[in-house]
Amino acid sequence: MNADRFFAIDDGPGGTSRQLGIVVSGSLTEGLEVRLASGVSVEDMAVGRYVTIEGKRQCFFGMVTDIRLETTDKQMVGNPPDVSDSFVADVIEGTSTFALLHVLPMLTIPRGAAAQLRNEGPQPVKTIPAHYSRVHEASEEDVSAVFGAEDSSHYFIGTPLDMETKVCLNLERFVERSSGIFGKSGTGKTFLTRILLIGMVQKSKAVSLVFDMHNEYGWKGSWEGHGDGVKGLKQLFGQKVAVFTLDEESSRRRQVQTDHVVEIGYDQIEPEDIEMLKEPLMLSPRAMDAVHALVKHFGERHWLEEFLKLEAKDRDELAEEIDPASGTLRALSMSLSRLKRLPFLTAHARQDCLKAILEYLDRGTNVVLEFGRYQDLTAYVLVANVLTRRLHEHYVERKEKAMGDKAQEPRPLVIAIEEAHKFLNPEVSRQTIFGTIAREMRKYNVTLLVIDQRPSGIDDEIMSQIGTRITCLLDDERDVDSVLMGVSGKNELKSVLAKLETKQQALIFGHAVPMPVVVRTRDYGTAESYREFGFREAAEIHTLVNEDLKLWDR
């Protein structure tokens, strides 16, 4: 070995990225062990970081998922050398003691002119590099080769840890299947959702319908520690976004420019909607039977209105007729009368809000439905279910028509719901419309964007249909298992997920990205960030217009 070059660390081909070490063992399923070169500090490494491995015919792209300390002689554990002596420390570092990186190979990047001619992009990994292949830190070019540059379908979502390269989501693929945003409370799910919705507004052919439980997306959103809050979609994109509200008064107080006030008629509520409210209204299975009996008695469109109108005496008479054995009807009446407290529920809606929503969606306008003060689950679940069920019927009908006439093809729709486990838990997911959409509505151009802090509450069968999962920090074991269900390299990703910071960091994997990626999500909320999204303040537009006018005059 050349003594003078002992400390020289190879700069890699082109000198752009640092060599980290060499592959010493491993397997495709369990990942590779990479021995860290001497001179590379183990403290400079981090889980979630990208590396490239130079194979003979192809380059491998992988992610560091674990870091371990090793010694060549087990005696060193029990009888450590005197590292206070700098000479001893310099000698054993990287020789007798060394660090192993656990690297999960994810993609192969074909090399050579032939591959370039075929225009081959990154492929899923099917083999592993040979022993002692060299491992480099992934350069910015490598990362952008994998995650694509921003273009008409790729949308900048964030940057990898310790890098300035852009990680882009393939939005076309993102809206093709249902997707999920998970993370415990306060980890930035709402910010991430806003960023994604903006992506859809700007780049996707899909439109979105957002059931905005906490009034965060439409006009203005809150920002912890920043009194002013952040701009909502309507402020940034004006005509491309319509704000619907259930609570006109609240919207007016918050000075929100709304486009439509939503009312829901009793005649639009079906037994299935009541089924969803079993928990908040504390309805027994017998009560549900009674609901079906009422529908039979009064008819599908009038059952609720008629039932709520009944006086106690009339109700008892009715009970004699349809449910003589118990006092179920009285209990049901008490439960359902809670619906009367929701002012947006009326006997007959003055306008069919679904028609209005569909009109906007057909024009390519995204719709945000604000719940105003009605932030309890009863209102949310009821409204989301009633509207979505009818949207579903409409889309199925239109898609069927489109089979005969391509021009009728409905615009792809993404429905964003919060507290998704209330709609998609194993008990109700088979009956609710959301379960159906998650399972098969992709074929009818409707997908879900589920936002949830308890993914373990979502039915496994639904979870497996979620194409792209974006997850912020989760610390409940069951939630982590649920999010990572069915993903290769689950254990490795688990360790990455557990190490996410509580803010502005997320692990993205699935259909819309070529490989799992940890990102620091792009900024949202500063003037600079709004500009990056293409927003211009009125004063700025005014100046630009004036400049144009001056040029015109010349």
């Binding site: 002992f6 400390f7 001497s38 060549t72 002689d73 310099d90 000698v91």
Partner: protein
Amino acid sequence: MCTKIGEVVEANTISFAAQSYELHQAPPFGSLVRASDGEADIFGLVYSVVTASIDTGRRPIARGRDEQDEEDIYRNNPQLPKLLRTDFDSLIVGFRQAGTVRQYLPPRPPRLHGFVYLSGNAEIVEFTQSLDFLNTIVSCSLGAPLDELAAACVRLAEEARGGDYSFRVAAGRELAMLLSTNQQRLKAILRRIRQ
């Protein structure tokens, strides 16, 4: 600057013995010496020095009972330097042929009566460009204190490089790799290198 210091008196494939021209003037333990087989320069590391009677059957006898000073013994017995000899043994660690240094055993051992030179700093630096010779030391089976030899030659080579710490670390790391499964031995050598 290389100095002629002795003559090969016994040689085999892995080591050679030389008689020092001057009594008690053997090269230091661990130093690099050079002999020749007529074609190649052969390098060895001094691992043993012996001073004894030239007649192996007759052991020297004590002569200084009435002398005040050790030097007086030699002054009053001028035959002594002729009756005593200093020999040194060297472990062969490499050779130089056609200007290229190779750190493995030469095809032939040095010739008997070939001159032995003590290498100067430039030659030490040239030879220790590569550290493969350390493998020869730690893996050979001579009845010599090999760990001491490895430490001594690293110390001398560092000195020849003007106290270059990076060389010392490089040699230490080479030893750490050679002795990766024997930390006790590595520790002992490192302590001796550090002085």
